[in-house]
Amino acid sequence: MSIGNEQTAGTAPTVPGQSAPTGHRSTSSPLTRVLGIIVVLCIPLVVWLSFVATPPDRVQGESVRLLYVHVPSVTVAYVACFVTFVSSIMWLWKRSEWWDLVGSSAAEIGSVFTALTLVSGMIWGQITWGTAWEWDPRLTSTLFLFLLLVGYQALRAASPDRSARSRRSAVVGLLLVPNIIIVNRSVEWWRSLHQDATLFRTDLDFRIEGLMLFTWMFTTAVGMVLLVWLMFHRFRVGWLANRVEEQQLSEAVAARRAEATS
């Protein structure tokens, strides 16, 4: 789990929401610690469920276990994108730092999960299809989703000041979900209207049930908790970065004033 900097550096102004003890040098709080503990405790369970408890698939063999990474991560990525979308709308309405941070945190974590989907899918594809990539609708639209998220972050990185950054990224974030839908739908139609649709998935039409279903749902749930946990931390890192920026700023203001009076 090397996503983001869960442990923030530097002196810590207090983090919003949680009453962090003074001098507390991390972005954690009782709530995130609980979330973290849940994730940490569940991971061995997930591993056990997906590698030991569930049976190998008739067609897929052992490789079916990638399902438990692949599918939950794409679900989490979708949720993260949706959060970005909603936050962008809320930012345009309320213009608050809070929504800006929620949206950008979600987009960043979403891009990580999208990458995870791509990578796990490609590994899986290498094993089952014998090729890592096909110009299949889902694959293609997932790749575009990833690129949209990269674009979002590039735009944020390129914007010099905070108000321009929030404003521009909110516009892109708001377009994110319509974009995803249009891209996704059109890519689906693109193939389905095609005469000889090469449906790679037909042979994988395994019926998920019983323990497999449970494992899948359980992993997804753990993924969601992980998302929330990471969002908390990423949000706080962003919040603290803004505070550090402000603190540096007030120092800079003071220094500039002093320079003027001297």
Partner: protein
Amino acid sequence: MLRDAWLVAGKDLRMEVRTRVGLGQVVPFAVLVLVLFGFALDPDRGILEAATPGLFWVTVLFAAVLGVQRAYAVESAEGVRDALRLSSLSAPGVFLGKTLAIAVQLVAVEVALGVGVVILYGADPGGWVLLVGSALPATAGIAAAGSLYGVLAVGLRVRETLLPLLLLPVLAPVLLAATRAFEAALDGSPADGWPWAGLLALFAVVYVGCGIGLYGTVLEES
């Protein structure tokens, strides 16, 4: 709003007439790209014929990126941006004006490419109605999305490179749908193509709508 749109589009087209960037350069560029493709993809007609509609629209996309870049380069000259923001132009008006000016240039590019494709790739133009009926909404959609994302990149030092990154993934559906529609038209089965033209119209409506709604937010940023 429409008055402002005319004013802005008129200004852009006047600049175009003065500098001839569109006709003199974007169009040749587009034709050149077509030639390069013809060059890079096998010499035997096989691939080219099958891929003609796709290549046509990929080329239009590249020309569009160039056109949008140009359309906003003039607006990001020092001070001009301030001047625009200090004017009484309505943001939706500016958006529509820019979109219109970009669309006009794109149409010129498409006509030239169409001729190029017929001559160079030996495409057989049939199904005129569908060709035009899908090219128009596609152009509107590309221009509207380009105009909206173009203003997002304005004023950033890195706009030359950021714009394609933002714009191309968004335009992927247009590429798909327009390619499909053209394929249907060239295959002589227009019935297959009209749903795609409908999708293109939908896309155009969505982006023109988003542009009208959101352009102001970006332009007026203070």
